[in-house]
Amino acid sequence: MEVGKSFKRVDAFDKVTGRAKYADDLCPKNAYVSRILHSTIAHGRVIRIDTAEAAQIDGVVKVLTCFDVPDRPFPTAGHPWNTDPGHQDVADRKLLNEHVRYYGDDIAVVIAEDTVAADRAIRALTVEYEAYPFVLDPIESAKEGAPLIHGERQNNNILAHSSLRIGNYAEAIKEPGLIKVEGWYHTPTVQHSHIENHICFAYQEQGQRVTVCSSTQIPHIVRRVTAQALGWPWGKVRIIKPYIGGGFGNKQDALYEPLCAWLTTQVGGHPVKLDVSREETFVNNRVRHAMHAHITSWMRPDGTFAARKLEVWSDQGAYASHGHSVAAKGMGAFPQLYPCDNVETDAWTVYTNKPTGGAMRGYGIPQAMFQNESHIEDIVTALNLDPIAFRRKNSMPVGYFDSFSKNELYEDSFNQCLDKAIEKIDYDRKRARYRHQTGPVRRGIGAALFWYNTAVWPISIETSSCRMIMNQDGSIQLITGETEIGQGCDTVFAQMAADTIGLRLEDVHVFTMQDTDVTPYGSGAYASRQTYIGGFSIRQTGQLLKEKILKHAHTLTRMPADLLDIIDGTIVRKSDNRALMTVGELATRTLYDMERSEHLAAESTYAVKSNAYSFGVTIAEVEVDIPLCQAKVLNMVNVHDCGTLINPQLAEAQVHGGMSMALGFGLYEELLADPKTGRILNDNLLDYKLPTTMDHPDLLVDFVENAEPTSPFGTKALGEPPTCSPAPAIRNAILQATGVAINTLPLNPHRLFEEFTKAGIFRTEQEVISPPSPGRSAEISRVTINA
């Protein structure tokens, strides 16, 4: 069995030697370069762009503006296409936009022989605008009278609103003696900050077809979007996806592939490279939606819920991209993580004149978990309950079934994860020790749970295809449409394929590159779907191939096929375990057989009609230097129930990465827009504070392996879940340390200064503080008691 073992990554050698090819490494040397001119107003219309001077610059090949592009709005979200027009993504942007909707919108392009010429030409362009009022806050933007951002399509800025009603909230809150706990929770705009920026190059061949080689997570979807943007038949576009330097959801969007494809058509098919700068990655790609949530919980004095309400505003930015799906997923967690008989939820996704919100690792759940798990801590603080006991008692119970997704909580995952985490980080002892502290530097420890849903069924199709081609030596090429983006799927897919057929891992060669001309359809790397979804088609295709092999084995060995099996690349007679021949011998004889030559191969598609919960917990221990307004994570543990581990070492590595991203989300990162202009202020890695090596503690990870019954390999989500619960755990730890509940991320020194000032703790820092009491911070949940 290869599944369950910590094999080294199949791509590791190429990556440590610099041989792994990323998009830029494959770009033809003669490619032209291109640069984009971005708007310097947040909202308005381009009246005129003077290109005369730019076009004269030595080395400039062509200058193209928003007045030259096809008048064809297209959607960019990396969702599988939906043949029902009512469920298709919103098509609201053009290749270059005359109506500019954020500071930095794409309005013109220069194609040149080198970057110096291109940059000079960009600087030489002069633009005349008609400026409109702009709005940067989604709550303001949702109001009547806000400047219309997509007036062409809709007469307000609300991209979508959805709601959910369970029981009768209005009646339930009348129950006497209820304690009402309410609060606002804010999460900021952050950016994926993969180290390789998005880059693509395009050229034309075979007459009119266009090929785009791109750093994308979703080649098949990008092909469709590119064709739609150009108004071409889909088969005329070919997308090639080599290794990519991280994506985290940003590259789960058609970013600049459509524009790049169009550019090559404007220069006779000559290769054109579009290499996005770090600054553009921050401003002109996608970001995580900032959200503003208000939660009200009506509690009985015994610590049970009577009724709950959530209202959330999600900041879409200028263009729809993934749109409301993100806020909707976040909202969906609310009634499930802590079930309650009476629930009202509303979520609005609202356009603003800011960079576009897209998919980012966790897809609304990191925001939702900050809202939910901060609020739960505020409840236990208000009611003076034990935070762990409260969560054990009120979180989703074993046997919980969601009729929409058909997901079920089969095992006692939350308690099992909590038990492990508590032990691993020595929670009980530390929690008790940090109860009464004095002095300027204090410690605290806090927990948070997370809820996750592995894939996207039944909201979208979940389909995956796989092809296996056997070589004469009995090894195979494994080709799927699911993409390696660093998460290690090539390796676990190889393990799955090896197990299904009965080969050794070294017999499986993963064709890592996706080329839509060659690779069967797969939706690509998003949600936390690939290991779960890919597993179905790999299993199915492997079985098909195995059947074929055994059929030939029957011919060659005269033994009945059902007496035969394949173990470690050898055909074995099950009755006496005798090795009859190797798969290699079989493959060679089969291919070169004078009578019935056959090239052994199999291909299949599996339409998955299930989904799976994935749960876990974070406990964080922090140290807060109150006068210096600094919080530091000393220790942090994540425990996950992600089903059976296919490759334990890679699974752990995946968790590290997610925790790290959440450390940034919790303490450091925020993309700032200038309130006066809408310009992004910190569009570089010096001003946007990704935590560095020195800001990271050692990370503790553990697993509870409850095999997921719907998955052929017992697996479920692990890609995104690690990044969902650390931020609220850190926040709750700071609450224990200082008594200040801070409801706005990131918890950086600026925020701590503001909140400590409001709470008045600078002067009281020498005092003993007893268990954190609410009401110190202006923003903490207000607590009122029903008459």
Partner: protein
């Protein structure tokens, strides 16, 4: 008209002396990629912030994106390609990155390996926090650094042991 200015430079690249005429406007990173096909030299920011383009110059770490190619004249430049011997054997630090699962997307990896190689060559013993400081000019968004520190620590201990010093 841009009047292009070139300079003939000679330097040691991965142990071999090379000579080339370089456009004075070019960064070392661009020259290594374009002229020498050294694809291990990655670019993630072009302003010295991410460390993906880290190479060794005279044994010290530099961000090759903000180092003018002409300044390489007379220097000894080393990239990850130079760690692999002619038989294809990779260095201990590369193997440690593989073994410790310190590689994910791989884009930061060559830069990290060069920073690690520099400090391994000092023959000093570093604590985990000291390793963090030595590697703080390299950013990684995939790994949370945990396994990277493990890999460097492991290679360090092995080298120290080989040199007769007690591992930590």
């Amino acid at each position: 008209m841009i009047e292009k200015q070139y300079k003939q430079i000679t330097f040691t690249l991965n142990g071999k002396q090379v000579s080339t005429s370089v456009d004075v406007r070019e960064s070392l990173a661009d020259m290594l990629r374009r002229e020498f096909g050294l694809t291990s030299v990655k670019k993630g920011c072009e302003v010295g912030e991410c460390g993906a383009c880290t190479v060794l110059i005279n044994g010290d770490v530099f961000a090759s994106c903000i180092f003018l190619a002409i300044w390489a004249d007379g220097k000894d430049v080393m990239t990850v390609e130079g760690l692999v011997d002619t038989d294809g054997h990779i260095a201990d630090i590369q193997q440690a990155f593989i073994d410790e699962a310190a590689v994910q997307c791989g884009f930061c990896t060559p830069g990290f390996i060069m920073s690690a190689e520099r400090l391994l060559r000092t023959g000093k013993r570093y604590t985990r926090d000291e390793l963090r400081k030595e590697l703080s000019g390299n950013m990684c968004r995939c790994t949370g650094y945990h396994n990277i520190i493990n890999a460097v620590e492991k290679a360090m201990n092995a080298r120290l042991e080989a040199a007769g010093k007690q591992p930590v």
